[in-house]
Symmetry: D2
Subunit: 348 residues, 4 copies
């Protein structure tokens, strides 16, 4: 059994790790930290976990964390970069769900997150945990930086087109929408139900922190001679709990037929257990991946015009965060990649 610690267990990515690991046959959560709730049983905060965990929140302790095989960070940005170096030194493997180690360009990170980075060299060593691109590197990684939710949905949607170089890399347009759990479990007026139910709006349209991550990821897969991908990214807030839907537009630079386009996607992902290319003409639904590690994708060319449309759905807390983190753990520890992640979506 893999001994697992979770740092920051009171947020949504924390409770999602707990939900998924509760039935993982090869992993056991032995430590879960929260400064503010130390001493409180996990199942008291989340009644859904009653009967599944007999564990109290504790203060983060380097000795206790070091005794685990892997430490997940489910914390706001800034926390992992302060605590991870000591763990790395002691040889513990770390999977960070926050934004701390996602960007290779430290100055870009510092600009978007408004603070100095505390462990820039680790950011270089960290492997970006998108298995569909970096599986080989993840196997041996000591530190994995899990992708953000929007970046996961958007990269998986566009990767086949950008790898193949069949769309114009400048002028990419991503109109995406997320369930409210993406904003985390925090008491802000802007997040209360009475402000958000029966309402829809965009936010951070002039610049969202996931933008540089998306562009970094897309550029990584482009042919070397391609001009760098440039994205206009507009996120929206949905009056629902879970799910991200990315609606992706790109200008075609190819004469591929609809069938060839479909095959491009099916071939790219035919060995990927967590990406599902839908039949031509389908519209993916967020509920079809609720609670799962799946990404479902469709591609089409509306009205046979120049714009290629890709739609991609994930569960922001699952493939967009905690389930993908477990997928990374499975890869790192040589387990079947989907172990503990096999349940179908909760539908309806």
């Amino acid at each position: 059994m893999i001994k697992v610690a979770i740092v920051g267990g009171t947020g949504y990515t924390g409770v999602e790790l707990l939900r998924l690991l509760a039935t993982h046959p090869q992993a056991e959560v032995t430590v879960i930290t929260s400064r503010s709730l130390r001493g409180t049983p996990v199942a008291e905060l989340f009644s859904s976990l009653r009967g599944h965990y007999d564990l109290d929140f504790c203060e983060p302790d380097i000795e206790q964390l070091s005794a685990c095989d892997v430490v997940f960070f489910a914390t706001p940005h800034g926390v992992a970069q302060a605590q991870v170096p000591a763990l790395i030194e002691r040889g513990v493997r770390v999977i960070d769900l926050s934004a701390d180690f996602r960007l290779k360009d430290i100055s870009t990170w510092e600009q978007w997150y408004g603070q100095e980075h505390a462990a820039p060299s680790l950011a270089q060593e960290a492997v970006y945990g998108l298995p569909e691109v970096n599986r080989a590197e993840i196997v041996g990684a000591q530190l994995v930086a899990c992708p953000g939710c929007y970046p996961t949905a958007i990269q998986l949607g566009w990767i086949p087109l950008l790898e193949a170089g069949v769309v114009e890399p400048a002028g990419l347009i991503a109109s995406a929408a997320s369930g409210a759990s993406g904003a985390g479990r925090q008491g802000k007026t802007d997040l209360i139900l009475a402000e958000n139910s029966d309402n829809f709006r965009a936010y951070s349209a002039t610049g969202h922190r996931h933008l540089p991550e998306i562009e970094q990821g897309l550029r990584q897969v482009q042919p070397h001679d391609a001009s760098p991908a440039q994205v206009t990214f507009v996120p929206h807030l949905l009056p629902m709990i879970r799910g991200i839907h990315a609606t992706l537009f790109a200008k075609s630079q190819t004469d591929m037929s609809p069938l060839e386009l479909q095959q491009l996607f099916e071939n790219r992902y035919k060995n990927e257990p967590c990406v599902d290319v839908l039949p031509a003409g389908s519209h993916p639904q967020t509920r079809s991946v609720r609670g799962t590690n799946m990404c479902r994708i469709s591609v089409m060319q509306p009205q046979d015009r120049d714009t290629l449309l890709v739609m991609s759905v994930i569960d922001n807390l699952a493939k967009g965060a905690s389930a993908q983190a477990i997928q990374n753990m499975n890869i790192m520890f040589g387990l079947t990649e989907t172990l503990g992640l096999e349940s179908p979506a909760l539908l309806p």
Copy 2:
């Protein structure tokens, strides 16, 4: 592996059986029927099941069904009573999720369901599949009648009080509310989102079909000399998908202290793997059981007055239907009772 057939696989209890059985380690769905969709892949109707089932809907065929170890009926009332007799004759075990075999009094059934009962003698033989009451009978049953969703939540809430004879059996009041999936997957104007979102209303307040089932079940557990339980039952429709919340009021006939009341409940359910008595003072939430076979219950005596309040939550499609059906299957086949039903609730 238990070979499973599902008759009527296009509704919500059907797809919920498929969702839960997809990861059941000792059962495999080999037949799923739908007259209207015969030949259609299951995963085409429910995209959440892509990758989990390579099975087409087929017409119900007595030979094919008889080749299975157990047949689940996830059909509207009236269907099972027509098809079950032939299966019973051939020795197949049947778990019926519909209302066909729940009531022992056939004239009551015929009055509430407005048609003649086609298999009245089987209704006598059928075991009412509420494991917390009838576990011993379920073990050897050939035909199990799964309880309705409201009846499950309401009986589990009141059983400790009625068994102990500490409340007035006449004048029981059940104010309950269900998510919209309880109305099934059917295209009625009354069920569309634009009519039900941001709305709340009661329905069938003068008499809901679950009323006689609730009273039958409660009377079964009352002491022999008690006057028969009589319930005023008002169901409401919630603007959400899954979950039943039962708010139960009864006039106290006891001097038990709050602590003794709490202990009455904890003792009654201490060996029940699927009933969770919450700490005193708790308010159960429907989301804490979403997708699971759990029933969470709390009991209190507001303002130390004469009225005892019990609150009980289940997932109407899970403990209220398909998961409880699988619990019954596990008992019938000598498996661990919660096999395949261990995942925590999807929260948030």
Copy 3:
């Protein structure tokens, strides 16, 4: 034109007053206060009011408020009792939407609200602003205490039965549910959408602050020789924005036929412009009163048993708060009672 001031304009009852008064033909909002947002245009906080108000939030100032004909308090409890005495002295009329002046028994108020009352004698003078009971007193009142949301729905539902003395006053049971706007516009984790969407739960079941107000109001209308009304009140939180549904159970002490029961209600409210008794057998829907000052009620006797069922719906922010406050203003100033409140509900 009546010059109106609103103290505490940043919450939901404040913005609802603004919404309704924007088209009131005989009233004009001239002052709106908020300490924290002083200087901010009202329409900047609530974009729905752009083009309707050219008014900034200001600090509460006794001179400015005294220059108005009427001051509405849309503040948390405790605020009005501190500021109202000075206004009353200067002859300004006050309509308080908070709980400060609703209870006549000051010790009960202090017990439930956990603080000393700052103006106990004003609480005696205040008129409880339920027009269907106290219309005559409201006409000449200088200080009106607007009823709470639950108390409005529950009192209007039970008044005909209690006035007629046809139900047992002890053992009354009120199972009620409210949209999330009832909890106000405040950033608490418990109120965010991700915690409340697709979820249903009770709260404060052991004792909610509206309980003494409900009982006070019911006792006021009972015959003098009746034993005092005693209520078990369980409020629930609905995954939606607006609306209260009260499901009310009482033990019958009458032989009235269903028709006579229906007529009792129709007669009681036949001259009430804001109470609508639905045809026998109806189930009121919260959306049928969304945004309006209406209360819709139905009464029935399920299964011809001893329990009388009343269901009552209002919009918690409208008839349950701000619209009823305007109804009171209309009465106080001799206007048509429904002036400015005539728009039908927003449905769907």
Copy 4:
């Protein structure tokens, strides 16, 4: 008083007309038709209208309709084109909310709607009822074709840019989302709450019927020498009742500063009572226009790149249908354009 008839009063645009006209000071609904519900009181179908209308649904009758000053058609496509010619002949003015007379190119209409057009010459005479473009023509029109919901939001968003010729007309991208009321009041499985709550998906991405209407409208306002606007339009279904949000992307062909861009929009709409250009940097919310005839718009240039972003919100049933129809009526009959449409949005 203008005597109003409504043909097809049982759908959402019908009940929205009734809601808005109930308080219109210069119009009175005297006839409302529904073949299937003839004889049923309007207030029986829509309990929100109890007390507002004492009117029964009746069969459409040419004499009765001709006795009115204006007839609104709130019917599915195909109905108006069959009935309108006789009304036009008799000199009655007609406002059609359906798609029948929106397209000038009849073959395009026939291709997208899959049937022969019954009144092609009337389609030429009909005035497209977007007041912000065609006000002068609407004044004298006998037949007004009200714009569709998506076309209203999208045209109003792009008109300033296309009129000014500052964006590339080919390659326009509209990612829009609508509340479920946009699909109408019809009992389809695809529309029930249990299928759509907590879910988000696109639909008709390969080609939606509103596409030719959008392009026709945009081309009408382009400079004569511009290449014709070409749009990729992807509609999505939101888990909520009302509201359309259009997220519009266009490639810039200008060096305008952000301030100039903002001024372009403010100038274009400075005299428009029903279009509100938000301050720079704002994100419009659908709830800010709920139930109103307003369109709120913002424009920005994310990251100073080449893509201009416009966001536009309306209420699909109000400015997207029935309220805009009344705005047209007001213009046709020489009334103040916003008469009866002044209420602020229902928020929260």
